[in-house]
Symmetry: C2
Subunit: 215 residues, 2 copies
């Protein structure tokens, strides 16, 4: 199942291979401890939300000593911040379908799938709430989206090169315009998300791009 | 200073008068207690965020007995939920500038002003985070935006009637498209917000509306 991100503990298939050099994990004990603790953190966020995140329970669920968890992550916010770093590192490669509409649709459907996923939906709900309460966490969340934008920006650049949309179009703004209506319903106005919302986000971003609204 | 919402404790000027009948408060003791408690809640959210919201401190700051605050609001989440109800009740009338671009710009600038306001910015950050942690709070936040959409939808309907955009355009989706990129930066990707972001949101929503992307 393709999602906006995957956990480092999931099996690595060719489709889900890290997009860029440097994202391959060292397989040593430190990496294994981190993977176990971050998976337990994610489990806890799915089950109870970030306000109930508890270091002792995460340590127990991960099978890792409490001292290690406290020394390395410090606090529940430290766990969430590191989870965000991990999510950014494990980010999936962007689509290349041959035209902008196809690429933006692939992006919108990936966001939709992630936010409506029974596991990743609550995780994103939790990291967004954590970022509202803590600046370090907010910086990590910002870093996650910066990584995503960097990976998908070439789709817009290719479209400019093909002459589909005006020169000078800001690639990251086009991509933000695709994500924004989906995240708005998910995290702000708290409305249900359906495939029609993804299609509309693509159609509006595309109309804006063609009209030069992102220059 | 015009904002997306105002506190019921602020002086009522003709410009800020309630938009619809039924929003005028009874001036009795119960209403005064509620106004004082909700203002103290807002102060606390601005100063410390929602995770540090404390019923005893709110009661003390409002000059209201603890028993009253516990009996009437029950929990910090109860305070935030009632604050959201109050914000929805105190919602300001929508603009009517004579064309869709002007009305959408007025809407975008109102959202921008609210989210970048030193007082209302932290309050919105806090209510969005609270909604991520509590379903009752999420329902109240959804209700706030539903009220806003209902007030601004006529701007889009007038534009359809003037023949500026296609018949069958979904008014609330046009308005969500204006708000979404601003809230996305504010609450999700945690990026700075500037007037250019409001202008871009208007230009993109307008291009989408003209292209029929909201039908």
């Amino acid at each position: 199942m393709e999602q906006e991100t995957r956990l480092s503990t999931e099996p690595t298939t060719p489709e889900a291979a890290p997009a860029t050099p440097g994202t391959v994990r060292p397989g040593g004990r430190t990496a294994k401890v981190r993977a176990a603790v971050l998976e337990a953190t994610q489990d806890a966020l799915v089950e109870q939300g970030f306000h109930a995140l508890n270091m002792d329970r995460v340590a127990a669920a991960a099978g890792v000593g409490k001292t290690t968890v406290y020394r390395r992550w410090g606090s529940p916010i430290g766990l969430i911040t590191d989870l965000l770093h991990d999510m950014a590192e494990q980010s999936l490669p962007a689509a290349d379908t041959g035209d902008l509409e196809g690429d933006l649709r692939a992006n919108a459907l990936l966001v939709l799938k992630t936010l409506t996923d029974p596991r990743m939906g609550p995780v994103f709900q939790a990291v967004i709430a954590s970022a509202a309460c803590d600046e370090e966490c907010a910086t990590a969340l910002n870093g996650f989206y910066t990584t995503r934008l960097r990976e998908w920006a070439p789709a817009v650049a290719r479209s400019v090169a093909r002459g589909e949309i005006p020169a000078g179009t800001d690639a990251t703004e086009v991509l933000r315009a695709v994500s924004a209506p989906l995240y708005y319903r998910f995290a702000v106005s708290r409305e249900p998300l359906a495939p029609a919302d993804a299609e509309r986000a693509v159609a509006v971003a595309l109309a804006g791009a063609r009209a030069g609204a992102f220059r």
